[in-house]
C-alpha cells in the first residue's frame, strides 16, 4: 500500500513518463500526473500529497506561478516542491528557491538526482 503520494507536473509526456518511471523505483509511492499548473492545483485540491515535482515552462500556468500559489495556500504550503527545468542560470535557480521551492534540478534529467531529492524530502532511507 502506498504511503507517499507524489504529484508530477510536466507538460511533456516524454518527460512526465521519464520522471514517473524514475520515481516508481522508490518503495510505497503513488504517482499522480498533471500537465500544467492549473491541472496540478485541481489535483492538489482533491487529494493530499507529500511531494511535488514541477517543470517551469508549461502552458496555461507555469511552474513558478504554481510554486507561489502552493506556498500561499495554508492547506498546501507544507508540501515540499522540487523544480525540474531547462532554466539553468544561477538567477533562475535563486528565483525558484526564493519562491519556496525546496530543490532545483536542471535538465538534462538525471535519474539519480531525482531519486536523491525525493528520498531526502520524503525521508526515505
Amino acid at each position: 500500500m502506498a504511503d507517499k503520494r507524489i504529484l508530477v507536473v510536466e507538460d511533456s509526456p516524454t518527460m512526465r513518463q521519464l520522471i514517473a518511471f524514475t520515481l516508481r523505483r522508490l518503495p510505497n509511492i503513488a504517482l499522480v500526473e498533471a500537465t500544467d499548473g492549473v491541472d496540478a492545483l485541481r489535483k492538489l485540491g482533491g487529494d493530499s500529497f507529500d511531494l511535488i515535482f514541477t517543470d517551469i515552462n508549461m502552458p496555461i500556468m507555469d511552474g513558478l506561478k504554481l510554486v507561489s500559489l502552493v506556498r500561499s495556500d495554508p492547506a498546501l504550503r507544507h508540501i515540499p516542491i522540487v523544480i525540474i527545468t531547462t532554466e539553468g542560470a544561477a538567477e533562475d535557480r535563486q528565483r525558484g528557491l526564493a519562491l519556496g521551492a525546496n530543490d532545483y534540478l536542471i535538465k538534462p534529467i538525471q535519474a539519480s538526482r531525482i531519486l536523491a531529492a525525493a528520498r531526502e524530502l520524503l525521508n526515505i532511507a
Binding site: 511533456s12 509526456p13 516524454t14 518527460m15 513518463q17 521519464l18 518511471f21 524514475t22 531547462t86 539553468g88 542560470a89 536542471i106 535538465k107 538534462p108 534529467i109 538525471q110 535519474a111 539519480s112
Partner: protein, 277 residues
Amino acid sequence: MSMDDKGDEKGMHVRADEFLQLFKKGAEFTQDLLKENERLRYRIFQLEEQQRKGGGPASFVEENRLLAARIEELEREKDEILGRIRQIEAENNDFATRYVEIEEENNNLANLYIASYQLHSILDFDDVLKVITEIIINLIGAEEFAVMLIDEKTGLLGAVAAEGISLDDVPKVRPGEGTIGAIAATGESHFVEDPAGYVRDLSNPMVCIPLKIKDQVIGVIVIYKLLIQKKAFVPVDYELFTLLAGHAATAIFSSRLYSDSERKRSTMQGFINLLTK
C-alpha cells in the same frame, strides 16, 4: 667513698650497659643469619626438587621457545587477517563503484527506453517531431537545433522543426555539399571536439546526426547550442544520438507513411461515397 670512686663506679655501669646492648644486637644478628641460612637451604631444596621433577631453567627455555613460536604464528595469522580485510575492503570498493556504474547504466537505459517508447507510440508526423524535440531538449540538453529532412521532390535538406532558431534561418542544403550535406551523403555522425569553444555557424553545426533507415539517410539533426548548464557531451548522449539516428528516422518514416495512407484512404472513401450516393 670519695668523689672519684663514685665517678668510676658510674662509668663502669655505663660501659656495662653498652656492652649488654652490643651483645643483644650481636645475638639478634646471629638469629637473623640463622634464619636466612634456613631460608636459603629451603630454597635450594625447592630448586633441587623442581629440577628433579623436570622443571627448572631448562624447562623455562623450552617454554619460552614455544611461546615465541606461538607469538610468531599469531603474528602471521594477524597479517593474513589484515591482508584479507584489505582485500575485502578493495572488493567492497569495487562493488560500490560497480553499483554506481550499473545504477548509471540503468538510468541511461531508462532514458533510452522511454525515448524509444515515445517515438514509436505515435503516428502523427507533427507529434513525432515534437517528441524528437523534447528528447533533444530534455535528455540531451540542446538549446538551439533543427530537424532537417530530405525533400523527395527537390532533393534538398530542409528544416521541418527547429528550437531556439527560426526554421527559415536553417540553410537548405544539397546532400554532399558542406558539413551538413556531407553527413547526409555519408551517414556518419559529426561532433565538434570542443563544444564549449564552438562558435555558432549555421552551415557547420556543433553536432550533425544522420537520420537513417538501414543505410538510407532521410534527414539529419543539427545542434548549434547546448543549454547553459551543459558543458560537454557524456557517454549517454552518444547513445541517444545513435537511438535518434535509427528510431527517430523510423518514426518519421512511419508517420509519413501513415499520413499518406490516411490521406489516400480518405480520398478513396470520398470517391466511394460519391459513387454509392
